[in-house]
């Protein structure tokens, strides 16, 4: 009987310990999977202003990060040509940056093996060029300070590209390419400075366009094509121009007459696209919901 009581006591101790453990472990032990955020980072800042390149008004970028991320923003600093803030692991190879000026153009070549870089551009220059990561992500926030002629944004092997277009952004064309991964577009702009277009292409993965712009002066049209996969569309108040199992075209009513137009073209090879859906509804729980086009492997 005594042995029974001792064993019973031990069981009670285990139970009490487990109750304490249940409440304490999330805060005391923290997350089970820890990413190496605490690893020592080196920050390197490179900036170029009008004083460094007087007479320049056009910037051509050739920007490559092999593994990491690029975060692109625009500010109202009219003298700023660029500011790159690299965060890299200690011991990582320094990025190489080359500035070549000819006439009124500045060619900027940037090459980094790894790291995250925050890129800030000014509002007084026209920007053009290619920004690519071999493996990683690119985020672009196009504010009213942006002035882009053509941007080619690429996740060469795998990763993601996120684009946020705000009111009065100015760009001619954005070309977004992802081999394997995803593209996220948030177009909150009701107005744009000029006619603009966006092409997005994912070979393997998905594209999410969480809203389609609809302003009085802005007419929008979106074409989406999924080679093997599905398009999950909420047309909302937009006009469905054409629609087949794997091809969708929608637009705003004012598109033909609008003074400023935005054209969006989406292509997914193997994967899917969700258009005008909140993110957490983007991946359907019920296939009977507002599916306008779907095409599954048969």
């Amino acid at each position: 009987m005594r042995a029974n009581i001792i064993i019973g006591g031990m069981i009670i101790v285990i139970l009490l310990a487990s109750v304490i453990f249940t409440f304490a472990s999330p805060t005391v032990l923290g997350p089970l999977i820890k990413f190496e955020e605490d690893k020592a980072k080196v920050t390197r800042t490179y900036s170029f202003t009008s004083d460094d390149a007087p007479g320049v008004d056009y910037i051509n970028l050739n920007f490559t990060v092999k593994a990491g991320g690029i975060d692109i923003n625009f500010t109202d600093d009219s003298s700023l040509i660029y500011m790159f803030v690299f965060k890299q692991d200690e011991g990582a190879t320094k990025p190489s940056i080359e500035n070549i000026t000819f006439d009124s153009k500045l060619l900027v070549n940037v090459m980094a093996e790894s790291g995250d870089v925050k890129v800030t551009f000014g509002n007084n220059y026209i920007y053009n060029g290619t920004l690519r990561v071999s493996l990683g992500g690119i985020t672009v926030k196009l504010s009213n300070y942006s002035n882009i002629e053509f941007f080619d944004l690429a996740a060469v092997y795998a990763g993601g590209v996120s684009v946020d277009v705000e009111d009065d952004a100015s760009f001619d064309h954005l070309n977004i390419r992802v081999n394997a991964g995803g593209i996220m577009m948030h177009i909150g702009a009701k107005t744009l400075e000029k006619n603009s277009s966006i092409s997005a292409r994912v070979e393997l993965g998905g594209i999410v366009v969480d809203s389609i712009p609809k302003g009085t002066s802005l007419g929008s049209r979106l074409k989406a094509f999924a080679d093997i996969g599905g398009i999950y569309l909420n047309p909302g108040n937009y006009t469905v121009i054409s629609q087949t199992v794997n091809r969708v075209e929608i637009g705003t009513e004012n598109y033909p007459t609008a003074p400023i137009k935005l054209d969006i073209e989406l292509f997914t090879g193997l994967g899917g696209a969700t258009i005008n859906q909140p993110f957490f509804l983007a991946f359907p729980t019920s296939f009977s919901q507002e599916i306008t086009a779907r095409y599954f492997l048969e």
Binding site: M1, I7, G8, G9, I14, S25, K34
Partner: protein, 230 residues
């Protein structure tokens, strides 16, 4: 019956008695169950044991899940934004509540159904002489070995790579010990042979659960996979 009378011990009450029954269910289930049957214990104590043992297991599973998900969801940050991610991560703490409740409900269902199957088998196939209520009470004590599972889960949470193997061994021990207690409970309750008790308490319920699982899987696959092929 003479043997059974000879093993009857002096009844103990209160918390000491409770500890004795917990330990006794592990160390000497035959004698402990006989004592309990003689004293006609209520259903509340076994019910309490099931709720506590499986509630804690559910909570530990939930906390473990949250600790995995909390940081691994960081990849969503560029997609849904840091603020939304934080809100989403904060909401994860509902997970242990859900797992605790579902574990308890599931354990209670298994408890009632398993006892029912064993009762039908022991009573009507092997012509035993016990009652369902009596077996239900004894079956509640079969949850005691799951304290080893709880110990294993805690150790795994502390250090997955070091303690995972040990936890698996503890789980296997708990399963084996639970089967032994179930067999003894049926044998004591219905006064049938151990082999018959093993069939009633383990083999038949196992067959029933496997058949049910297969049925559920068939229904699920025909509904979901059938839906996908549209």
């Amino acid at each position: 019956m003479e043997n059974e009378t000879s093993v009857q011990s002096k009844p103990s009450s209160g918390f000491t008695g409770f500890l004795g029954r917990l330990g006794g269910a592990l160390l000497e289930p035959r004698k402990t169950f006989y004592d309990m049957m003689q004293r006609e214990m209520g259903i509340l104590e076994p019910l309490f044991l099931i709720i506590v043992f499986f509630g804690i297991q559910g909570a530990l599973v939930g906390v473990f899940t949250v600790r995995i998900l909390y940081s691994s969801l960081a990849f969503l940050s560029p997609i849904i934004g840091a603020e939304q991610l934080q809100a989403f991560q904060g909401g994860l703490f509902i997970v242990p509540v859900i797992t605790t409740i579902s574990w308890i409900v599931f354990a209670l269902m298994i408890w009632i159904i398993s006892a029912g199957i064993a009762h039908l088998c022991a009573k009507y196939i092997f012509k035993g002489m016990g009652s369902y209520n009596q077996l239900l009470k004894l079956y509640g004590y079969a949850s005691v070995p799951s304290s080893l599972v709880i110990l294993g889960m805690m150790l795994t949470s502390l250090n997955f790579s070091i303690f995972f193997g040990l936890s698996m061994i503890l789980c296997l021990m708990a399963v084996f010990w639970t089967v032994v207690i179930l067999v003894v409970a049926v044998e004591r309750c219905y006064l049938i042979d151990p082999g018959q008790a093993f069939i009633s308490s383990f083999i038949v319920p196992l067959i029933v659960y496997l058949a049910l699982s297969a049925l559920v899987w068939l229904i699920f696959s025909s509904l979901v996979l059938g839906g996908f092929s549209l």
